[in-house]
Symmetry: C2
Subunit: 134 residues, 2 copies
């Protein structure tokens, strides 16, 4: 009877180890993969200048202060200045989740709350992320 | 009569100098400004892998070989892999015009000719182009 209980305990331990290893591997794999997203934002035309200033300030703060925020390329359509696109690269999903809790992100969100008419977020998968600094 | 002709010549010279200065300034201003564009490309689903391979090869060649090609971020929508987006930054419009005459660009264009179902190009104006390498 004692032996069977020990065998059960070993089995349980084995299952727990396997589960833990599997979770850890997933976490590591997820962390090594950049998280890339395209945000399309429609801005209230009357507040365009204020919005652009807030977005610029936010992008500069995020990329300079957060090691996990690699790229924030914010642009507007030449023909439709109220159509803003942000191309976003984070070192990982975890880096993004930490980003949205930073004071500069929360400040940006509260500043632009009434300037944004719509927001469309698209998760994307890299084919090639080729860039060089100037 | 001779004097008036000389005066005319001086005026003509002045106008030419002003025109030349104006053109030069425009050319310099244009050359110093990055040219930024977003390409949206719809791919034939049967040729997705070949298309992605060709785009990856082209992006790597362009950014590594051309000083004026700063960024080619090529991605596909996670939910719609046939929807490809390329975020493109060139040092100037002239750098872009030179880019589309390179052997690697011409090779890419000819390779993907029958893989692309539609192509939408949007000129955009930077609000903030914040990035750091890893």
């Amino acid at each position: 009877m004692k032996k069977r209980t020990n065998a059960h305990r070993y089995n349980l331990l084995l299952v727990l180890i396997l589960l833990f290893t599997s979770f850890s591997n997933n976490a590591v794999a997820q962390d090594n993969k950049p998280y890339v997203r395209i945000a399309k934002i429609l801005i209230d035309s009357a507040q365009l200048e204020s919005y652009n200033a807030a977005l610029k300030e936010h992008a500069e703060a995020a990329v300079s202060k957060e090691p996990g925020v690699r790229t924030l390329y914010a642009v507007y359509d030449k023909e439709h200045p109220t159509h803003v696109t942000v191309f976003e690269i984070y070192a990982s999903l975890a880096a993004y989740q930490s980003h949205i809790q930073t004071p500069h992100f929360l400040k940006y969100k509260s500043t632009v709350k009434n300037m944004v008419k719509s927001l469309e977020l698209t998760d994307v998968i890299p084919i090639a992320l080729e860039a060089k600094l100037k």
